[in-house]
């Protein structure tokens, strides 16, 4: 049933570096429904950004998408031609990035970069400018006419991110991928940006893939959460279940690691594995307190343990 907006199945992406093959994604499974906000949570290096870029087919050499399916609105994005995927980007799926001032071209005005996103070839210059200025106003930027002529380096982080949001939502995409959009912003600005995103996304009825390393932020903004560990999803469920009943040992570790007043700081033992020579079987097994014999030999498949709650762990075979 193409009730789901986006279904990612067994996505495999490798990077061929001179040090070896980095197996960044080793079978990612993900689904996003319509008007749904799904969080993708994991440590740095877990492959969150690579997943997002693979969905958009923005992986460049030495990276390569090896296999898998990315079914978006009924079409497998991995099988589209270059022209076809280009027409999907920016219009049906948009993306915003972590450091907004770096993600903007320093030699072009904000207005021009926004106009580009709006695809204004059929409009007269004045009309295109008016449309862009209206978008700038919509995302809460003060003095939109002046902002139009400003350059990225003249904007603060928060303002730049608002501009990026304007750019990404201007064509009313069905899916917005937000890769750590507030990680580089001040805490006060973070809240504003999150509110803005929430409001606009609801208005246009889009879904969001919200990538973050911060479980707290994910809890606030997302309907469902997918936990990712070194290249694949280890647990997927709705927010409440994830916090009340985390099944995968890694998820439990992450939740325990959230600092709580009065308690000692908890850390998950061991180190993030090397993606060139990852551990055999379940990649988490060296750090797992409850590892079974089978965990070092066979990689667990992600299976639905309860309704809407999926785990990739040998502890929950049935």
């Amino acid at each position: 049933m193409s009730e789901e907006l986006l279904t990612v199945r067994n996505l495999v992406t490798h990077f061929y570096t001179y040090r070896g093959i980095v197996k960044a994604l080793e079978g990612v499974d993900l689904t996003i429904g319509r008007r749904e906000v799904v969080g993708l949570v994991g440590e740095t290096g877990s492959g969150k950004s690579v997943t997002a870029l693979s969905i958009m087919r923005l992986i460049e050499p030495p990276g390569k998408i090896i296999s898998g399916e990315v079914i978006f609105d009924g079409k497998d994005l991995l099988k589209l031609s270059d022209e076809e995927i280009r027409s999907v980007r920016g219009k049906e799926i948009s993306m915003i990035f972590q450091e907004p001032t770096l993600a903007l071209n320093p030699v072009l005005t904000i207005g021009l970069q926004l106009q580009e996103a709006i695809e204004t070839q059929d409009l007269r210059k004045e009309d295109a400018e008016k449309l862009a200025t209206a978008m700038l106003e919509k995302v809460g930027l003060p003095d939109p006419e002046r902002m139009f002529k400003n350059y990225p380096h003249e904007l603060s982080g928060g303002m730049a991110q608002r501009a990026m949001i304007a750019m990404s939502l201007s064509m009313k995409p069905k899916l917005l991928i937000a890769d750590e959009p507030t990680s580089s912003l001040d805490v006060t600005v973070q809240a504003q940006i999150l509110d803005l995103m929430k409001k606009l996304v609801e208005e246009i009825g889009a879904s969001v893939l919200y990538i973050t390393h911060d479980l707290g932020v994910a809890a606030e903004t997302c309907d469902k959460i997918a936990v990712m560990y070194t290249g694949y999803i280890v647990e997927f469920s709705d927010v409440l279940t994830m916090f009340e009943n985390p099944l995968h040992p890694y998820t439990q570790g992450l939740l325990n690691a959230i600092p709580k007043l009065g308690y000692d700081l908890y850390t998950i033992g061991g180190e993030v594995p090397d993606l060139i020579n990852p551990p055999s079987g379940c990649r988490f097994h060296p750090r797992c307190q409850e590892a079974l014999d089978i965990c070092s030999k066979v990689k667990p498949q992600i299976t639905e343990v309860k309704k809407g709650h999926l785990v990739a762990c040998h502890l929950f075979k049935y």
């Binding site: 980007r89 920016g90 948009s94 993306m95 990035f97 770096l102 993600a103 071209n105 320093p106 380096h153």
Partner: protein, 341 residues
């Protein structure tokens, strides 16, 4: 209003810096002409001058006065355009320079143009196809640019294309039988157009081919190298990814996002290239019978015409500094981060 101030202050600061640098240039040329030679007057008057005359001139020209006085004197004269007299041509060095420099400027400018036209595309292709065949070719080209003596290559080109194959014209700015158009700017191509002498224009252009192509190749090597590294830097940047994520056409991504950023640093190399081409002209004008600064300089070296040598050196340093100033200002203008800083 605010932004104009920033560009203006930048230009002002840069001009001030140039004044300081030119002062330093004067110090060096002064030291070279008044202090370094064992006997400056003997050097200026040439080896044939009789000794008593040397002594007389030494006193007359104030070479027995304290050094800083001589320096003030020197700067004063230079600022008034007096660069001394050439013992070879018997004219003032300044008038000699005015006479000869257009030919060299024409050659250097044409060569720089060719260097840009050849170098930038090479650098771009080299970056986009990194580590593949075009890149290796570009690297070999760049290394050859600093391994081959320019005068030797000119000779080889003359041997092959003129003496052996007869495809291109030989030395000189025009064929020997052809008359020069009346001199307005000293730039042959412009003057021939002004005088409506199309034959001179075409012929002059043909004669420019070998010299400017060879000089241009050397310049292109440096420009290609800079363009390549600049492109590689830009290709790694986040905003290129954003542009692609917006679904823009490849052509737009390349021109508006990649090149617009990558070519700005290349501008700075153009200034240095121009200086290199001025050097190249000194080495090659004699072979090419190109009556410009280079030939004047070489003749002066051989004749030990000291004032002329110093005059040429100073002149070239000034042109080089002006070129770099122009390039720096252009860079500031092109990069909004500086212009609207």
């Amino acid at each position: 209003m605010g932004f104009l101030m920033d560009l203006r202050t930048y230009i002002l600061r840069r001009l001030l810096l140039m004044v300081l640098v030119l002062f330093g240039v004067l110090v060096i040329t002064f030291l070279l002409s008044h202090v370094v030679p064992a006997d400056p007057i003997g050097a200026i008057l040439g080896p044939q001058a009789p000794i008593d005359m040397v002594e007389k001139i030494r006193h007359e020209w104030g070479f027995d006065r304290p050094l800083y006085e001589q320096f003030v004197d020197y700067v004063w004269r230079v600022l008034h355009g007096d660069l001394g007299k050439s013992i070879r041509t018997n004219r003032s060095v300044t008038s000699d320079l005015m006479n000869y420099f257009p030919a060299t400027i024409e050659l250097a400018t044409f060569s720089t143009f060719l260097a840009i036209v050849m170098g930038i595309p090479l650098g771009i292709i080299s970056a986009m196809k990194k580590d593949k065949i075009p890149d290796h070719f570009a690297r070999v080209f760049a290394i050859s640019g600093i391994s081959i003596p320019v005068y030797w290559l000119e000779l080889v080109m003359l041997i092959v294309f003129y003496y052996q194959l007869g495809l291109l014209p030989g030395p000189g700015r025009l064929d020997p039988y052809m008359a020069y158009p009346p001199r307005v700017t000293g730039l042959l191509l412009i003057d021939s157009l002004l005088a409506r002498r199309l034959d001179a224009f075409v012929n002059g252009l043909q004669h420019l081919i070998i010299p400017s192509f060879v000089l241009g190749m050397f310049g292109a090597a440096g420009i290609a190298r800079m363009t390549r590294s600049s492109m590689l830097e830009v290709l790694k940047k986040e905003y290129v990814r954003t542009a692609k994520a917006k679904g823009l056409r490849e052509r737009i991504v390349v021109t508006r996002h990649i090149l617009r950023n990558a070519l700005i640093p290349t501008v700075t190399v153009v200034g240095v290239t121009y200086g290199g081409l001025l050097e190249g002209s000194i080495l090659t004008e004699t072979i090419l019978a190109w009556n410009g600064l280079g030939q004047y300089a070489t003749g002066s070296f051989l004749y030990l015409d000291f004032m002329a040598v110093m005059g040429v050196t100073l002149f070239i340093a000034v042109i080089y500094s002006l070129m770099n100033l122009f390039v720096d200002i252009l860079y500031a203008y092109l990069d909004p981060r500086i212009r609207y800083g």
